[in-house]
């Protein structure tokens, strides 16, 4: 399986042309952006995402990784040279989500007591 940056076109199930709504069509749930956060933190393997403190259930993790790949936000790469095991990395489209994560992080830090950041630059 060769890495590809090509985005499969999602089915036209958009609720409106609003870019916020379209973004939420893809990312609007409790888990997807946490996988993106992990990818931004340099995690690449299924078991690393699975070990994050939020304890994402493996069936949800599988689904969300599929979704991220389908929307061109993450891509599959070999876990090591010559390895058949897979890892994941953000595409350019995925890296472009940094300002979204950064804004959420900053809002949480200011407005939700007891939060502390693990994400140094995101």
């Amino acid at each position: 399986m060769s890495p590809s940056r090509k985005t499969e076109v999602p089915p036209p199930t958009r609720r409106s042309p609003c870019p916020v709504a379209c973004t939420l069509d893809i990312l609007g749930d409790r888990w997807t952006l946490l996988v993106v956060r992990d990818l931004m933190l340099g995690r690449t393997r299924f078991k690393e995402f699975s070990a994050s403190p939020e304890g994402i259930p493996t069936n949800i993790l599988t689904d969300r990784l599929e979704r991220l790949v389908r929307h061109g936000i993450a891509e599959r790469i070999p876990a090591a040279e010559g390895s058949k095991r897979l890892a994941y990395q953000l595409t350019e489209k995925g890296e472009a989500l940094r300002p979204v994560l950064k804004a959420m992080k900053e809002w949480g830090l200011v407005w939700e007591e007891g939060t502390r950041a693990a994400l140094s630059d995101g």
Copy 2:
């Protein structure tokens, strides 16, 4: 019912102290941030949110408005002076979500074809 900026403390159901995870605990679904968007666009009434192009079901809208008030993101105000009907407005905590919406809007505009912005400053 007098407007209040006081945030009721949510129950301690956090998945982790990560501010992104905490933000998603509150806002991580397909609809909540669309109501916040509408509030940022100056909409204040249930029927106005209901009329947005995404067609939010009224039971979901009721739930999400309750959630926004419970988390101190929006507050109830009289729809007009002396009126018993209610309207909603963002609190300071809700206004502080503008960078989140802005980042989502900008990402959607760049990466999702066919989107167009209604949100001029958010």
